[in-house]
């Protein structure tokens, strides 16, 4: 049995490449749980951050600083009556959220959290990701139709038109990044997600800075298109609550509705992961080539622990700042426990960092590397997650025709131009 485990830990391949079904399964489970937790965390962070943008406090009652609010919400949603409109198409209504959810979660099989920290490394990784994430629109379209109601139908039409249009610009931006991967001695690029990050490592530059400003423009196109692709503000036409009440999920309630939300947030994380992988160096820490001395490795490996330590300190500060009224007693204890938990994690990570440094190529070192990869990847993705919230707090909503105009008349020509220029520049240099 330990051999089972060690067989993978000693390998530099992903479980899928190694044909290691056991570890593949473990990874699937970890990713499923991780994404669910991330969505829950994202829910809380979005509500809190949005509230603070808007001079509110956000959830404060359920748990200290509303930390348990997402769980309360989840419980509420699960216990809610599951309403299926009598005029709805029962089967399709039932299956629609599952389609969206499946598409959103299937994408994670190829997301590389590290050089071997992925379920599988397909040689068509990015193609697979774009393809499967584009299946998510099926769920939306079908949900809108099955509700047999005008607003969901219009929402579904809008979102499908929107996603199909933005996929074009998005795809072209992705292609220009893939063209960059082919700038090596053999002249062949790769579609593999891991291969793309490794190409950035070899060329010693994140693709966002490659052929500046070409990479940057392509990244910008992608960053805009991915907001449209996930139906988020300011492109949240499909669920524009002031126009279409709630768009395609107007008729949904309870658990089914929460599946849509889960799918939406999972899709947000997925597209952010694509952006990070393609342009921001994926799992790589900053300056891996410039600052490559073991001392730098050690310093950067301290970051995960320090981050958790900082979070623990913030939580501790919250404990101290809590009013000294008996009403807050439980909350104070809860927050203190939470801070302690974060502190323990921080401590553990720091211990691993130190241990990983002292004993090279040992299990601890492997762990240390893996934590580092996942940490930097997640950190980059969370920047995008924060941007999603920031956009939502700042901007009004585009109108549908304006959205299409931007998609077809602005983004598409620019991404096409960037692709052509990137190819030419790549050939010349």
């Amino acid at each position: 049995m330990p051999n089972f485990i060690m067989s993978y830990l000693g390998s530099t391949l992903t479980p899928g490449q190694a044909g290691n079904q056991f570890w593949a399964l473990i990874y699937v489970l970890i990713i499923f749980a991780g994404v669910s937790v991330a969505v829950i965390a994202m829910n809380w962070i979005e509500r809190k951050a949005l509230a603070h943008f808007q001079i509110r406090l956000g959830p404060m009652r359920v748990g200290p600083h509303g930390l348990l609010q997402p769980f309360a919400d989840a419980l509420k949603l699960m216990l809610k009556e599951d309403i299926i409109p009598s005029e709805a198409d029962q089967f399709v209504f039932w299956v629609a959220p599952l389609i969206g959810l499946l598409a959103a979660f299937t994408v994670y099989t190829v997301i590389p959290f590290g050089p071997s920290q992925a379920v599988s490394d397909m040689n068509i990784g990015i193609l697979f990701m774009l393809g499967v994430s584009s299946l998510g629109v099926l769920g939306i379209v079908v949900a809108g139709w099955a509700s047999n109601s005008h607003y969901p139908l219009i929402g579904a039409l809008r979102s499908s038109a929107q996603m199909v249009s933005y996929e074009v610009a998005m795809g072209l931006a992705v292609v220009s990044a893939i063209v960059m991967t082919s700038l090596n001695s053999t002249g062949t690029g790769t579609l593999s997600m891991i291969g793309i990050v490794q190409a950035q490592q070899q060329q010693g530059v994140w693709f966002i800075f490659k052929f500046f400003p070409l990479g940057f423009i392509a990244f910008g196109i992608f960053a805009i298109a991915m907001v449209a692709e996930t139906n988020r503000a300011p492109f949240d036409m499909a669920e524009a609550e002031s126009e279409l009440t709630a768009g395609y999920h107007t008729e949904y309630s309870g658990l089914r509705w929460s599946l849509f939300m889960l799918a939406e947030y999972a899709a947000m994380i997925a597209v952010s992961s694509i952006a990070v992988t393609l342009w921001l160096g994926g799992w790589m820490r900053p300056f891996p080539n410039l600052l490559h001395a073991p001392a730098w490795d050690f310093i950067f490996s301290l970051f995960p622990g320090l981050t958790f330590g900082a979070l623990a300190a913030i939580a501790l500060l919250g404990t101290v700042r809590m009013p000294s009224h008996s009403f807050f007693k439980i909350q104070r204890v809860g927050l203190a426990v939470f801070a302690g938990l974060l502190g323990l994690i921080a401590l553990l990570l720091l211990v691993i960092a130190v241990a990983g440094r002292s004993a090279d190529s040992s299990l601890a070192a492997r762990f240390n590397d893996g934590i580092g990869y996942v940490y930097w990847f997640v950190l980059k993705v969370s920047v995008f997650m924060y941007l999603f919230i920031w956009y939502r707090a700042t901007w009004p909503r585009y109108r549908f025709d304006q959205l299409m105009k931007i998609g077809w008349k602005v983004m598409l020509p620019i991404s096409l131009g960037v692709l052509v220029v990137t190819a030419i520049v790549g050939v010349i240099f």
């Binding site: 067989s7 044909g19 290691n20 068509i124 299946l135 099926l138 062949t188």
Partner: protein
């Protein structure tokens, strides 16, 4: 145990093959028997995805990816898009098999005959005939070399089969123009 796990060989190949084929066939039957056009479209998506799975099993991930992105993701969304705007109530009351069904039957039979004859007579045409499908990495390597790699697919498309590729795109252009002319009164 350990060796089997690390060999990279597919697991339970026959099971997945029959499952995917079965799904494809059931989906295909549902496509033509459902009264509701949206149900038909969903069944078609199942078929297309099953076929994509079969491609994956044939070590042709690129074809599988393209199958998903183009057919299941792109074309089917447009299908649904159109179907949703058509008056379903009226369409579901129409006769499902219209008067030209004998022609369709003849066409289907001809196609069936073609397949059978190709299977019976043209076995020699398949290069890997007689190779074990499930065991050994040899198949995998050959198949990968032939169809799997993206760069090979690209070389075929823009090398050997450029003309066919361009003809196909011309066909699409004609179809687009036809659709525009049919729907737009004033151009």
């Amino acid at each position: 145990m350990n060796s089997a796990l690390s060999a990279g060989a597919p697991v339970a190949t026959p099971f997945f093959f029959y499952m995917l084929s079965g799904l494809a066939v059931i989906g295909g039957i549902l496509v033509i028997t459902r009264r509701n056009a949206v149900h038909s479209a969903l069944a078609l998506i199942v078929t297309l995805l099953s076929v994509a799975g079969l491609y994956l099993m044939l070590y042709a991930p690129f074809v599988a990816g393209v199958q998903i992105i183009v057919y299941a993701g792109g074309i089917m969304v447009l299908f649904l898009f159109v179907i949703m705007l058509v008056n379903i109530e009226r369409a579901s009351k129409d006769r499902r098999f219209n008067r030209i069904w004998p022609i369709g039957l003849v066409a289907a039979c001809t196609l069936m005959g073609l397949f059978v004859s190709a299977f019976v007579k043209g076995r020699a045409l398949f290069p890997d005939r007689g190779m074990p499908l499930s065991e050994g990495s040899n198949t995998q390597e050959i198949a990968k070399a032939l169809y799997g790699e993206v760069n090979r697919a690209g070389q075929y498309t823009f090398g050997q089969y450029t003309f066919a590729f361009e003809i196909a795109s011309l066909l699409l252009l004609v179809a687009i123009l036809g659709a525009v002319i049919m729907t737009k009164k004033k151009i």
